[in-house]
Amino acid sequence: MTTIAPRPARILLVEDNPGDVLLAKKALAKSPIPHELHVATTGEDAIEFMRREGEHADAWRPDIVLLDLNLPTMSGQEVLREVKQDDSVSELRIIPVVILTSSPAEEDVLRSYRLHANSYLQKPINPTEFTRLANTLMSYWFEVGQTPPSP
């Protein structure tokens, strides 16, 4: 038996490569779990979105963040550090951050977990695998698991 969420799952995808954004969108769309997706193409924009600053004043709070490591200015690791250090009232640090990267390098895995990433996933090399990964991810966080309640 699955519990139906009262509102769609809210996902923030931080990804600068339009090719990857489309792949992620397509893969997530095949998941049976209803969701809303916001794409931030820079780390700075992602942080603003989470803090509801600037043009993001009406932004929702993401249930999870999918974060690419290789971003143009502020790197994925810097975004991760910023989020996981946030102990302001909004407590961004409790939002689960899932690293989604093409790097299988051990040092990237280690560095991410040292910065308190909640999970580390390598981007698959074919669309079928991408769909499978999206399904597993959605099911894990929104069916089997629980994300922190919205404040």
């Binding site: 490569n17 090719g19 990857d20 792949l23 397509k26 290789n70 093409s102 790097s103 390098a105 981007k123 090399i125 074919n126 669309p127 079928t128 991408f130």
Partner: protein, 254 residues
């Protein structure tokens, strides 16, 4: 130039060389790492093109045109896959034999048995017999050197003859200032004319067996980091023997 000037000059040149080598490794690492990303786009999107649009082509095009379209997509995906493996190999190459100071006096037998243990399954599957002669102690980085034996054994297994059970002989010969190791097999062998080409990165003499042409280039790099040389002797249909040397004493590096 006085003796001390010559020595100073030499130290300077040596230092510059070490820096250049490290820079090259960095370059290979960055290249292999960062090139994977656009490559992933190629294979992903060709696969999507096939998945989503091939049915449309199939419906509207002549059967032989549809076949041709399928072949094109296959070559594109196959090329991308091969390139990915090569980039993985480049990454492994850039990391192999990185300058470390884990050189120590180790029994060569440990290094060899370590490599054999890693290959246990493949050795058994190939029905191979491995004979290890008397092994001295050597001054080496045992993980790095174990990789050399591992690659050589893997090659012996890959290029074994279909006509006879594989036999690998490992021996060591002591010379005044170095040890010479020989890994000899009774596999398909190779034409001696091309012996040196095998050690060049991505070069492959025998394309009937899967591979990327990285293994022996890694061996060469590691052996050279140990102050030694590597070479191969072979004959088609008879077998191959790979020889490499390792300096005997730590002071030989100075």
């Amino acid at each position: 130039m006085s003796d001390s000037n010559v020595k100073n000059e030499l130290v300077k040149v040596q230092r510059a060389l070490v820096m250049k080598t490290e820079e090259l490794d960095q370059f290979a690492y960055a290249a292999s790492h960062d090139l994977q990303e656009p490559l992933r786009m190629v294979s992903q999107y060709v696969a999507l093109l096939e998945e989503e649009f091939f049915p449309i082509i199939e419906e509207h095009a002549e059967p032989d045109q549809a076949e041709e379209a399928k072949l094109y997509m296959h070559y594109a995906v196959d090329g991308a896959n091969r390139m990915r493996k090569m980039l993985d190999g480049l990454l492994a190459y850039s990391r192999a034999g990185r300058l470390t100071d884990t050189f120590d006096l180790v029994p060569a037998e440990d290094v060899v048995s370590n490599a054999i243990a890693t290959l246990n399954g493949a050795v058994r599957q190939a029905g191979a017999t491995i004979n290890v002669g008397t092994m001295p102690s050597i001054y080496a980085d045992k993980h790095m050197l174990s990789r050399v034996f591992l690659n050589l054994f893997t090659n012996a297994i890959k290029f074994r003859s279909p006509d006879r059970p594989l036999l690998i002989d490992i021996s060591a010969e002591e010379h005044p200032d170095h040890i010479e190791f020989v890994v000899k097999d009774n596999g398909v062998g190779f034409d001696q004319k091309y012996a040196d080409r095998m050690f060049v990165i991505f070069q492959r003499l025998n394309k009937s067996v899967k591979g990327t042409g990285i293994g022996l280039s890694i061996c060469k790099k590691v052996v050279e980091r140990h102050g030694g040389k590597i070479w191969a002797v072979g004959a088609p249909g008879v077998g191959a023997s790979f020889h490499f040397t390792v300096k005997k004493h730590a002071r030989d590096f100075e």
